[in-house]
């Protein structure tokens, strides 16, 4: 039989087999040595899966520990359409429509879209998720997704800020403290079977996530609620486009409440007016008007150029730098003491004190009280206000700045200046985060003294004068039964783009504190463009009055007057 095969053919065949064997051996050798790691990696990849363990975002609480913002896993509803028989889809869509608040045709279109997997609705409220679950529709499933929840709805929205869809904090403390709230994600490596189930006895290595720190704010939920209530009432009464209220503790600069209008719901940022995201107490500036007279007079007394009893002859107007500056409505008061300047809110009187003081000391005191520079509050987008450099001042500026024109401040800066008067002359750095809590424990924020712009004696005199302003003077609308109140109204014109003032439009404000003898809170109320024009200060005082009642009751502060 073999006699027919030529030896040459046999040799060729042998050579072919030998070559093939050699090549295969080399290949096998390659995979066993050089390519081993790649093969092993491929095999491991098929078996193992790596999961990112998201860190839990920290909870934000008020000063009493009540939840202001927290993250909860809500269930997102997904569908695998091919598992829902085609004839059953219209019925499924009809059942889901009322629960998901989505039209049935929209759901049906999604199910018939040809997608293999799709979300029908993300982050469902728990009750809705349970109702959908009870329908037991095949092909539907749930997947947990984290959702930031704000149990008090829009309350303190500008303080809190919000978390965007990427899980990043924006605005407020969510933005300012995003890094520590977010924490660090962990990693989990597990082995899975072909059905993608985790093997019970397989490899399981985990680097646990480091959860974000909790924040305890200085905000008092009751005071914040009261501030927002009275601000809304004032805004509605005056049909004003915007306003803000800030309440703080003068003893350490802790912010108790911060209300800003317009506002937004952190849970529905997508539909919010961009202007509503702006925290007007911190990121907006205005010419303060007569509330600034207290600062001017504090500077004058501290510099010993006037005393509360110093008098001048008020003729209604005064000339400075070649310009005539007048009292409101040109009223003249005759012989007027420095205390009465505040009681009557006499512009000419403020000019008188500033003239005695001089440009340079006035400027230095404004800076010492913190105007023209950010307070350093731990909230994003703080405005610095505007105090022009002394070199840019015209001679008339010493007069206008004395009663709060030609200078721009934030409501927070004004509140801090009044807090310095209230607490005996110390300017604190305001803050909203009282403590952070993480795995290492609680870290409390220590109050920070910035400087002492005036002496305790000056502050004491100012408290008495401002109390007199409420008791006998123009700020009487802020007086409270049983409590001493100190404060000052402010009506400011609004500068326009062309450098003039807008006609017949004002910003009304009131800055004050109570009890005047032992101040426990300072509040600043600002209403922009009130409908009642010059009488907007009455609404501002009324708002302060209503707010003060709640704050004093809430803090259980005993009356200091019969």
């Amino acid at each position: 039989m073999t006699e027919g095969i030529s030896p040459t053919r046999l040799r060729v065949l042998f050579a072919l087999f030998a070559t093939a064997t050699l090549l295969l051996s080399l290949r096998v050798g390659y995979w066993q040595t050089i390519g081993r790691a790649a093969l092993l990696e491929g095999a491991t990849d098929q078996l193992r899966s790596e999961l990112v363990l998201e860190a839990q975002r920290g909870v934000i609480r008020d000063r009493s520990g009540r939840v202001l913002a927290t993250t909860v896993d809500l269930r997102s509803l997904y569908a695998i359409p091919k598992r829902i028989p085609e004839q059953d889809r219209p019925a499924a869509a009809a059942k889901l429509a009322p629960l998901l608040a989505t039209p049935a045709p929209t759901i049906l279109a999604a199910l018939n879209s040809g997608a293999e997997w799709l979300y029908l609705k993300r982050r469902l409220p728990e009750l809705v998720a349970r109702a959908v679950e009870a329908l037991a529709i095949p092909g539907l499933g749930f997947e947990p997704e984290p959702k930031r929840l704000y149990p008090n709805d829009a309350l303190a929205a500008q303080v809190l800020g919000f978390v965007n869809d990427d899980g990043l904090g924006q605005y407020g403390v969510e933005g300012m403290y995003d890094k520590i709230l977010r924490g660090l994600p962990g990693r989990l490596t597990v082995e899975r079977d072909p059905k993608d189930r985790e093997l019970a006895v397989g490899l399981r290595t985990a680097v646990p996530p480091r959860n974000g720190a909790d924040l305890v704010l200085t905000i008092d939920l009751e005071v914040q609620t009261a501030a927002e209530r009275v601000l809304r009432a004032a805004i509605e009464k005056e049909k004003a486009p915007s306003g803000s209220i800030i309440v703080l503790d003068p003893r350490d600069g802790a912010i108790l409440a911060l209300a800003s209008w317009p506002t937004f719901d952190p849970a529905r940022v997508a539909v919010a007016d961009p202007e509503a995201l702006r925290n007007r107490a911190v990121s907006w500036t205005f010419e303060p008007g007569s509330t600034m007279k207290a600062v001017t007079i504090a500077a004058g007394i501290d510099k010993h150029v006037v005393t509360p009893a110093t008098t001048y002859e008020d003729k209604g107007c005064t000339v400075i730098g070649g310009r005539r500056l007048c009292n409101a409505q040109g009223k003249s008061y005759g012989t007027t003491s420095v205390t009465q300047i505040l009681e009557r809110s006499a512009n000419a009187g403020a000019v008188f004190v500033a003239s005695r003081l001089g440009q340079d000391p006035l400027y230095q005191y404004l800076r010492a009280f913190g105007f023209g520079v950010a307070t350093g509050v731990d909230l994003v987008a703080e405005a610095t206000g505007a105090v022009r450099p002394l070199a840019e001042w015209y001679p008339v500026d010493v007069g206008t700045v004395a009663y709060g024109q030609g200078i721009a401040v934030t409501p927070l800066q004004l509140a801090m200046a009044y807090a310095a008067i209230a607490n005996g002359g110390t300017l604190y750095k305001p803050y909203v985060v009282a403590a952070t809590r993480d795995a290492d424990g609680e870290h409390r924020t220590a109050p920070t003294v910035v400087r002492s712009p005036i002496t305790a004696d000056t502050a004491d005199m100012l408290r008495t004068m401002l109390t007199s302003t409420v008791d006998k003077g123009i700020s009487h609308g802020a007086s409270l039964a049983g409590y001493s109140v100190a404060g000052k109204t402010g009506t400011a014109q609004i500068p326009s783009a062309d450098g003039r003032y807008v006609d017949d439009a004002y910003i009304s404000s009131f800055a004050g504190f109570a009890p005047a003898n032992d101040p426990r809170f300072v509040a600043v109320v600002v209403i922009e463009r009130p409908q009642s024009k010059l009488l907007g200060t009455i609404t501002a005082m009324s708002a302060f009055h209503d707010l003060a009642i709640d704050v004093l009751r809430n803090a259980r502060i005993q009356p200091d007057r019969p």
Partner: protein, 119 residues
């Protein structure tokens, strides 16, 4: 005629019995040892399998319990949120208003100092 019984040679008989008896013992012993080994291996395998099954079952039970724990934590977080929502001063104020309640016009305060001074 009866043939006399011929005695078998001693040696032959002894040799024959000893060879047969020794073979049986070796076979039996071998059988017993092998059977014992098989049984032992079988028992070990059964033991290993039962242990492995127990571990696997335990593992799946652990996973189930972890899921239950996570769900309970989630439910707890949801309840905390609901509690905070119900506790919200704004909601309580709105509810009080709905019920026709009004804010107290004034609150009487009892001064502590005079009382303490009288004691």
């Amino acid at each position: 005629m009866r043939r006399p019984i011929q005695a078998r040679p001693r040696d032959a008989q002894a040799v024959g019995r000893s060879r047969h008896g020794a073979g049986t013992t070796w076979e039996v012993r071998t059988f017993v040892v092998v059977a014992a080994l098989i049984c032992a291996v079988f028992l070990l395998v059964v033991l290993y399998l039962s242990q492995a099954t127990a571990v696997a079952t335990g593992g799946y039970e652990t996973q189930r319990l972890e899921r239950v724990r996570d769900e309970l934590r989630r439910q707890n977080a949801l309840l905390e949120v609901e509690s905070a929502r119900l506790d919200s001063p704004a909601r309580i104020e709105a509810e009080a208003k709905r019920l026709g309640l009004v804010r107290a016009a004034s609150i009487s305060v009892v001064q502590a100092e005079p009382i303490a001074a009288k004691r």
